[in-house]
């Protein structure tokens, strides 16, 4: 099972705005070319301008979404991607349909119709997405938290009570655990007063979940308490990361009859 993170209408609108800017830049470049062509033939240059505007304004989305697998420049910038709503491969006709239906979605101005439909739709689809059976998702970048730098080398008083640690792991939701981790990773971004207040609130929240004996928590600052919590949530003691096999070798090991 997997889920996709839907892009909201505001992010999508910003991506469209960037794309419109790109189209404007392209048209400026074409305009310069038209000026050169006008020296040879004014009529031809005008015709060239009309065709270029038509092709670029309609073809921009189709071209980029097809060649960049569901992304335009704006979408790339905001890490958005058009995908098939059923998780299948995005097909050319889907891209064409969703882009042609911009004619209706952009009515009466600034994608009002598309924005309203997107806002109301469960999958955040505008009319073009509904017709093409596509959705726009957020495309995250993998990040590897440096837990060693954050947590290693410190005595953790909570580990003296493994039964309570196990209960804490059981009761903490993934979102709560991530909250602690993110707060610690981003501690430098907070104002000192706000940081103290935030860590105080978070520590209070986790203290309410599991009450450790006073020996384990007395004299431990809120921030250190949260580090200890993150440590027991994210790290298993006494294990070091192995050097990874090459995948091909691993496959050969797993499936000796393959090939």
């Amino acid at each position: 099972m997997f889920s996709q993170w839907l892009a909201g209408p505001v992010t999508r609108f910003l991506a469209v705005f960037i794309d419109q800017l790109c189209i404007a830049v392209l048209m400026t470049l074409v305009g310069s070319l038209v000026n050169l062509v006008a020296l040879i033939s004014l009529g031809f240059s005008m015709a060239f301008w009309v065709i270029a505007y038509f092709v670029i304004s309609i073809g921009y989305g189709i071209f980029f979404e097809w060649t960049w697998r569901g992304q335009t420049i704006g979408k790339k910038l905001f890490r958005l991607r058009v995908v098939d709503a059923d998780g299948l491969k995005l097909q050319f006709n889907q891209i064409v349909v969703r882009n042609l239906l911009r004619f209706v979605d952009s009515l009466p101005a600034f994608y009002f119709v598309g924005g309203v439909v997107c806002w109301l739709n469960q999958k955040c689809q505008r009319l073009g997405d509904i017709a093409a059976n596509t959705i726009v998702i957020r495309n995250p970048r993998v990040t590897e938290p440096d837990l060693d730098q954050l947590l290693a080398g410190k005595y953790n008083s909570l580990r003296q009570y493994p039964h309570l640690v196990a209960r804490l792991r059981q009761r903490v939701s993934p979102a709560e655990a991530d909250l602690v981790l993110q707060a610690l990773l981003r501690r430098g971004e907070f104002e000192p007063v706000a940081r103290v207040e935030l860590f105080g609130n978070l520590a209070g929240h986790f203290r309410d979940k599991i009450e450790f004996p006073a020996e384990a928590t007395d004299g431990v600052a809120d921030e250190q308490y949260l580090r200890n919590v993150a440590d027991v949530l994210y790290r298993t003691p006494g294990r070091t990361a192995p050097s990874p096999d090459t995948p091909a070798k691993a496959v050969a090991t797993a499936r000796p009859d393959s090939g």
Binding site: A85, D86, V104, D148, T246, P247
Partner: protein
């Protein structure tokens, strides 16, 4: 319970990277056929990554990695479970002479509806103008149509020079792009359950009917035919086909008599809609060319009989094309009509990759 996240990422990441690399290659090269070994590796990586996703979803709290894995698994899932016909190389002539007319015929009922609505509009426009000639500004709110027909004909027939000299190309291109925009708009309005498309078709019919009656009442039928037929016999059917595509969207949206989910219904017709709108674009390019280079020239420069004859020939060829082209292999037509709906249904490996020799 939460796994040792860093160790988990470090040990599994090479597999994810390899899967991502394979996916990038597959997506970049639609015609790529992997070997059996590559296929097995791909499948293994997909299963392993899916397993990692399950682990990280169940046992860990790290959302960024989970999102990344979900994205990878989703892409691999799309590659493996795609059952629609694989996109093949595009053959323009085959598309034009086979796919386009076959698609048109397959959805002829929507075209007939499109014609009926336009004819209704024509009848209304013509009747309204005949009943109340003062309603011309309302029925035909375009300055170039408001002039008295007899006066216009008299003026046109005194012109012996090329009024569009040096501007024909620009005029032609403007006509093409304008008409294509209108067609796309007519198609797109199909998503209003067809209401917008019907209004567009009806309104086009009203203008056409009003103009026709206006010129016929003024005794300028010959001029009217000579003026409209060379480009109109292609342009008007093109708009009607755009309406047909819009109505196809609307019918899929409404889903009367089709119990498939909305997504499936729309998926079934999206390929045909795209085929039709590209066909419309081609027809309108031709119509724009003829309108700028021929339709605007009248007697004594070009005899009306010649223009009408050209219009008749174009109409005959268009009807022949839409009715007969590509119908030689009725079996292939039937097969094409179901290619998107009923995939050949081999196992995904059979579709993608050559069977290993024993």
């Amino acid at each position: 319970m939460i796994v040792d996240l860093q160790r988990f990422i470090v040990s599994e990441r090479p597999f994810w990277v390899q899967l991502e690399t394979m996916l990038n290659r597959l997506e970049a090269e639609p015609n790529l056929r992997m070997t059996l070994t590559q296929t097995q590796l791909f499948h293994h990586l997909y299963e392993r990554t899916a397993g990692d996703l399950a682990k990280i979803t169940t046992f860990s709290s790290e959302p960024e990695t989970r999102r990344y894995l979900e994205n990878l698994v989703a892409r691999a899932y799309g590659e493996i479970h795609e059952t629609r016909e694989k996109q093949r190389r595009f053959f323009p002539l085959k598309w034009f002479f086979h796919t386009l007319p076959q698609t048109f015929r397959r959805h002829a009922h929507a075209f007939y509806l499109s014609v009926a609505i336009t004819l209704l509009g024509c009848a209304f426009g013509g009747f309204a103008l005949a009943l109340d000639p003062d309603a011309r500004p309302v029925l035909m709110p375009f300055s170039h149509l408001l002039e008295d027909p007899a006066k216009r004909v008299a003026e046109e027939q005194t012109v012996t020079t090329d009024r569009l000299a040096g501007e024909k190309t620009t005029f032609s291109v403007e006509l093409m792009t304008h008409n294509i925009n209108i067609s796309i708009f007519t198609l797109a309005l199909g998503m209003t359950w067809g209401i917008g498309t019907l209004i567009m078709l009806f309104y086009n019919g009203v203008i056409l009917g009003a103009v026709a009656v206006d010129y016929i009442r003024a005794g300028e039928t010959k001029f009217l035919l000579g003026w409209l037929m060379p480009h109109g016999v292609v342009e008007i059917p093109a708009i009607l086909i755009a309406g047909q595509a819009g109505l196809m969207l609307a019918l899929a949206l409404i889903g009367r008599g089709n119990r498939a989910p909305l997504g499936t219904r729309l998926r079934e017709i999206s390929h045909d809609v795209v085929t039709l709108i590209f066909g419309v674009g081609l027809l309108l390019v031709w119509a724009g060319f003829v309108e700028a280079f021929l339709s605007q020239y009248h007697e004594p420069i070009v005899p009306y009989e010649a223009k009408i004859a050209l219009g008749c020939v174009e109409l005959f060829l268009l009807v022949l094309f839409l009715a007969k082209s590509g119908s030689g292999g009725s079996k292939s037509e039937a097969r094409d009509s179901t290619s998107d709906r009923q995939p050949p249904h081999p196992h995904w490996r059979d579709r993608w990759f050559k069977s290993p020799k024993p």
